[in-house]
């Protein structure tokens, strides 16, 4: 299984979660974080300057499609980073 992690501006939330469900992810986990990157500091005091971190566990083929679409549709417009990790899950069939 792949754990795909997206960290980026909170206002992109809808866009990301819609994309996840379109690609068939069965769930996701999400929380607010602070961060600093190429597009400046987001100190999480007001929503415009908050980041969220979205984590989604998906089988490898879905992960590949997800990354492609994020690359094409979101990265050009939003302050955002994306990465993928290998994980071993309990209850494979859930994901």
């Amino acid at each position: 299984m792949k754990l795909v992690t997206i960290v980026g501006e909170a206002l992109a939330r809808e866009r990301v979660t819609r994309l996840l469900s379109e690609e068939g992810a069965r769930g996701y986990t999400l929380f607010a974080v602070e961060g600093t990157g190429a597009k400046g500091s987001r100190v999480a005091d007001i929503e415009e300057f908050t980041n969220i971190k979205i984590e989604v566990i998906v089988p490898e083929p879905i992960a590949r499609r997800l990354l492609e679409r994020i690359q094409r549709e979101l990265l050009p417009h939003f302050a955002m980073i994306v990465f993928e990790t290998d994980v071993r899950v309990l209850r494979h069939e859930k994901f």
């Binding site: 501006e9 206002l11 809808e14 400046g40 005091d45 007001i46 415009e48 417009h77 939003f78």
Partner: protein, 329 residues
């Protein structure tokens, strides 16, 4: 009282001084910060309280007094992007989508600026229509919708179909957090009437001024954090962020006078026209015009126009209103 005195009165109010303290807090790099839940809590309180009280005032005054100025305010909000856009596009030479996004911000309104103006008028003892909150409520959305239409007409490259973007824009403009809270509380207040206010005045009225002062401390920190981006936006936008509010303020005052508002009410309509949204509009723009550069609109609304309005703008709009109303002391 002349403009200098008027500025002085404004600058000596707790609200404005706490705002300045917030600016300083960021400048000297103190580790003070208002965590987001606290910011959200203060926002919710301020919007609900102002909406509720405005609704009660509307139920007292009756819709017949409110509808004409409210219609005028709506129209003014919707038209501001129509002239701001060409100025940004052709004088400022900004990309179309940025021009559209910025013009939406200046047509929409800032609730905190409005509250600071109400505060200022009551320090001066100038009365105003208590249902003026209704103008705040109706001016938040129209410019956002107009701005998105302008932006989408100008840039067609994207795969996303026009109508689905407009659905998103309408949702954001009409059901975004701040619009919903304001309009909803207005309705609640309208339905309860004076009796509902009496029961809850200990929360919605008694501490209000102080909460606003504390909130402005936070807003000072938030605004100052954007000062670093000022050099990125260029002198044109800095000029735009100070001059256009004055023009819009004058337009609002004249409109208020024409629809029969009092001196105080016309000043408030001027302030609303002059103010730029930095909550509802940015969220809507990120959703619907993500190609637009947020640094441009956030910095001009939050780091230029907002501080200008809070400190020098309020007394200026009041003086302009007094001049237009012919009251030379």
């Amino acid at each position: 009282m002349d403009y200098l005195e008027a500025i002085q009165t404004n600058l000596a109010s707790p609200a404005v001084l706490f705002f300045v303290l917030g600016l300083i807090a960021t400048a000297v790099k103190t580790d003070l910060r208002f965590p987001e839940p606290l910011y959200l809590g203060l926002t919710i309180y301020l919007l609900v309280a102002i909406g509720f009280k405005g609704g009660v005032a509307m139920s007292v005054a009756g819709m017949s007094a409110v509808w004409l100025p409210a219609l005028g305010a709506t129209a003014l909000g919707a038209s501001i992007p129509l002239w701001s856009y060409p100025i940004l596009r052709f004088v400022g030479r900004l990309p179309a989508v940025d021009a559209a996004a910025i013009s939406a911000h200046y047509g929409s309104v800032s609730a905190v600026t409005f509250l600071a103006a109400v505060n200022y008028l009551s320090e001066l003892g100038v009365p105003h229509e208590p249902y003026a909150t209704a103008f705040l409520a109706v001016m938040e959305s129209p410019a956002i919708i107009v701005g998105v239409v302008l932006g989408k007409l100008a840039t067609r490259q994207e795969g996303v179909p026009f109508y689905s973007v407009m659905r998103l824009a309408l949702h954001e403009a009409l059901l975004g957090r701040s619009v919903f809270l304001l309009v909803g509380s207005l309705l609640v207040g309208f339905l309860c009437g004076q009796r509902g206010l009496t029961a809850t005045a200990g929360f919605f009225v008694t501490p209000f001024q102080g909460v606003l002062a504390l909130f402005l401390l936070d807003m000072g920190m938030v605004a100052a954090r954007r000062f670093g981006d000022l050099r990125k936006v260029g002198t044109f936008l800095i000029g735009f962020g100070i001059l256009m509010p004055v023009i819009h303020g004058m337009a609002g005052i004249i409109l208020g006078y024409s629809v029969g508002l009092s001196l105080g009410g016309a000043t408030l309509l001027g302030v609303l026209a002059a103010s730029a949204s930095y909550i509802a509009a940015p969220a809507a723009m990120r959703m619907t015009l993500p190609e637009a550069n947020p640094t441009l609109y956030l910095t001009s609304a939050l780091a230029i126009t907002f501080p200008f309005n809070i400190t020098f703008g309020l007394p200026l709009y009041y003086e302009l209103a007094r001049w237009w109303f012919g009251g030379s002391k």
